[in-house]
């Protein structure tokens, strides 16, 4: 038989088996993959292959550690698996339900959760901004929330590393924050939707910038330059997008890491000495155990706490690493409020990445008299696909009938601005386990969320400001909408075991060979999209673990 001539469907059967993994740069090809027996005690079992897991697996494998990385979802080859179709591409999201309650219940799925090798980066919108340096000490320097256990200058070095690894395309001169080196790739031409933001910013006298984006503006290896098809949120079918799937994952494989796709980890095992011994995972129709000297949880802000809580045992009745009742707490999102308007011109916002222009003014201006909130927000130009935008319209307005069809007929003349708004860490915004079980028999996550007064002041401020900006840019018939995006926190790192789950290295305070490495570590949310920060933090943690390994202090 000719291997790979007929490729099976990625959702149905694992692809990374038999000593090979999908070649993500081909339509049906393979790359070799090192494999480990279940009984082999590997150095690291990593649960999750997104911005945290993929980066860490690469670092550890490149340093010579044996690594097996698990992902609950499929291993795609974008060139043959990704269609230009919103409904089809729902397959990238974590669609198994989470229960959502609280004063402001969160949405989950397309806006914040991936379920495939590469994690949410297969569908992220590629906006790659750095934290403002002061945010790493927001308590000490700005008087709100908590400090990170990390110095901004250390993070700054890792931001540069992450930007190189993901070949960020951005402007030569970025208007906010400390001076930085130039971005690896030149900025993209700003589309009409972005030029609306630019026009409005210039009218109001604030700076704007072409958004630094994780899609290449010139060829890079096997990635062709972006062709502006505009479907970044439903999966890049050309591999221009520098997702984890086409950057770190191939590196991790080449360095000897094993990846197990369609492998849902349901439990972390512990031994009589209280240390973790490996993971139980479901793959190919059955449960298996992989032995490991260290377990790293990298499932993001819902699945990471869920797995730790679901791993409760006699010795740790409240779940692993949860002796101080911190697991699942301080979950944050970004408020994602938006203002939309009609323009006189045709904008055709479906062309190009959805957010080609950005404004970080309110992340850096502390002195404006209108500022009535702690924290910050950035905002970007918008380019939702039709189904996405129609969903926003009906959810916000209840429009139906010919009225709805007429509103949608203005799709090509719409422009929008949407924030990435910082929310405050609150102990009661949290992940717990529900009584309901999923298809694996595992308790589903329940998420409780509510905005605090500061969060509300922040997004209200943003709606006023963005409305003014759109009007200044010539927009009319404005519509305000609310939503949320991204997840941060839930297993935060810190300096005090009483108020955090891990130390600055992602090592859990309670169990020395149990680690966390993903966005759930973030003590604060910042006013920028989190992916670049998660990647930079994972690279930092990777280097620290490798250094500890050399010293024998893992």
């Amino acid at each position: 038989m000719s291997a790979g001539a007929v490729s099976h469907v990625a959702e149905d059967r694992p692809r990374a088996t038999g000593g090979r993994a999908p070649d993500v740069f081909s339509r049906s090809g393979w790359v070799p993959m090192r494999e480990h027996a279940l009984g082999d005690e590997v150095d690291f079992a990593i649960v999750g292959s997104g911005c945290g897991g993929a980066v860490l697996a690469t670092k550890l494998a490149e340093a010579g550690h044996s690594v097996v990385m698990f992902d609950a979802g499929p291993f795609w080859r974008p060139l043959s698996d990704f269609a230009s179709d919103e409904r089809e591409q729902d397959k990238l999201y974590w669609l198994d339900p989470r229960l959502s309650d609280g004063d402001d219940p969160l949405e989950f799925g397309a806006n914040n959760s991936g379920r495939n090798v590469g994690g949410s980066t297969t569908h992220f919108q590629m906006v790659s901004l750095r934290f403002r340096p002061d945010w790493f000490k927001s308590r000490s320097k700005l008087g709100y929330a908590v400090d990170w256990p990390v110095d901004w200058r250390e993070m700054w070095r890792y931001y540069a590393e992450a930007e190189r690894a993901m070949a960020i395309s951005g402007p030569i001169s970025y208007p906010w924050g400390p001076k930085r080196g130039r971005y690896p790739y030149r900025e993209h031409e700003v589309n009409a939707a972005g030029l609306v933001l630019a026009r409005g910013a210039e009218a109001l006298g604030v700076a704007w910038a072409p958004t630094p984006l994780a899609t290449v503006s010139a060829p890079r290896g096997k990635s062709p330059p972006c062709v502006y098809r505009g479907m970044c949120k439903i999966g890049c079918s050309t591999n221009a997008k520098q997702s984890m799937l086409v950057t770190y994952i191939p590196r991790a494989l080449a360095a000897g890491a094993e990846i197990r796709d369609l492998a849902m980890v349901g439990r972390i095992d512990t031994g009589p000495d209280g240390r973790v011994t490996g993971v139980e995972f479901h793959r190919d129709g059955g449960w298996h155990v992989q032995k490991a000297r260290n377990v790293v949880v990298a499932g993001y802000s819902i699945e990471t706490p869920r797995l730790l809580l679901n791993s409760a045992c006699g010795r740790y009745p409240n779940g692993l690493a949860n002796g101080s009742d911190q697991v699942g707490r301080y979950l944050m999102v970004h408020s994602n409020h938006a203002v939309w308007s009609e323009m006189d011109e045709e904008i055709r916002w479906y062309k190009g990445p959805p957010s080609m222009a950005c404004c970080e003014h309110w992340n850096y201006d502390d002195d404006d008299p209108s500022r009535d909130f702690h924290g910050g927000y950035s905002f970007m130009s918008q380019g939702p696909l039709p189904g996405d935008f129609a969903g926003t319209l009906v959810t916000a307005t209840g429009a139906f009938g010919l009225d709805l069809r007429e509103r949608m007929a203005r799709y090509n003349r719409m422009a929008g601005l949407k924030i990435v708004g910082e929310t405050m860490p609150q102990a009661d915004n949290r992940v717990t386990l529900s009584d309901e079980k999923d298809g694996f028999g595992l308790p589903r996550a329940r998420i409780t969320f509510g905005y605090c007064d500061n969060d509300r002041r922040l997004y209200r401020h943003s709606l006023r400001f963005m409305s003014r900006m759109l009007q200044a840019a010539g927009g009319h018939d404005l519509l305000e909408t609310s939503s949320t995006a991204h997840l941060m926190g839930g297993c935060r790192m810190g300096s005090d075991p009483e108020t955090s789950v891990t130390d600055a290295n992602g090592r859990s305070w309670e169990i020395p060979n149990l680690w966390i490495c993903d966005g759930s570590l973030m003590p604060t949310a910042g006013g920028v999209n989190p992916a670049l920060t998660i990647v930079a933090n994972a690279a930092r943690i990777g280097d620290r673990i490798v250094a500890m390994g050399r010293k024998g202090t893992i």
Binding site: R229, D403, A409
Partner: protein, 206 residues
């Protein structure tokens, strides 16, 4: 009240690009699989009649002799147990929410007009949808605790529009570029269009 659709992009059809570099094999496969509506397997006869009426009021297509089918795809999604990633704690799972919501819409029609939702004329059905959206319920008990506005907007309308605008007719009528891989776009600036996009739209105010 709007009586007819203005068709700003009349004559434009994304399917005209079927054999061009804007379409690839996997996208053709997906769209081909969507051409024939799937058979009904989830809803009962009674629920089905209400659903057909709801879809017709949500997305009326008076200019089309053969309207875009929506209900069969909702039925197929629910039959397949297709999830959305979350469920509010005060909502039942999607299939149960749909069944309860459609029964409640029918009960609203009976309470107001003495006949079912599917037997109402357009304006009467629309009035019920607007009342439900504003929380003005004639038969609150029929909803059995289902949040009426949330059912209408987030369960029903959101699902309906996701199906309608995934169909080539829905994409074409708004002048959307449609499938775009491997070929994307070149002209990104204001009022600029590539030859493979819809020509400029026709609006009374422009």
């Amino acid at each position: 009240m709007t009586e007819r659709f203005s068709e700003p992009y009349r004559g434009y059809d994304v399917l005209d690009k079927w054999d061009t570099p804007s379409f690839n094999d996997q996208t053709r496969r997906v769209l081909r699989g969507r051409m024939d509506p799937p058979p009904r397997r989830f809803f009962s006869d009674t629920e089905w009649r209400v659903l057909l009426s709801l879809c017709a009021r949500a997305m009326p297509q008076p200019e089309r002799p053969d309207p875009v089918a929506i209900a069969p795809f909702i039925d197929a999604d629910l039959h397949a147990g297709r999830g959305t990633g979350m469920r509010r704690a005060d909502m039942p799972e999607p299939g149960a929410a749909w069944r309860r919501g459609l029964a409640a819409l029918d009960a609203e029609a009976v309470a107001r007009h003495g006949r079912g939702f599917a037997d109402l004329d357009g304006p009467a059905a629309d009035a019920i949808l607007r009342a439900v959206d504003s929380g003005d319920l004639a038969d609150p008990a029929a909803w059995e605790g289902l949040p009426a506005q949330r059912f209408l907007r987030e369960t029903a309308l959101k699902h309906i529009v996701s199906i309608y605008y995934s169909q080539p007719q829905g994409m074409s009528e708004i002048g959307y570029g449609g499938p775009a891989s491997p070929r994307g776009y070149v002209r990104l600036g204001t009022d600029r269009i590539d030859p493979w996009e819809a020509p400029h739209g026709q609006w009374p105010d422009r």
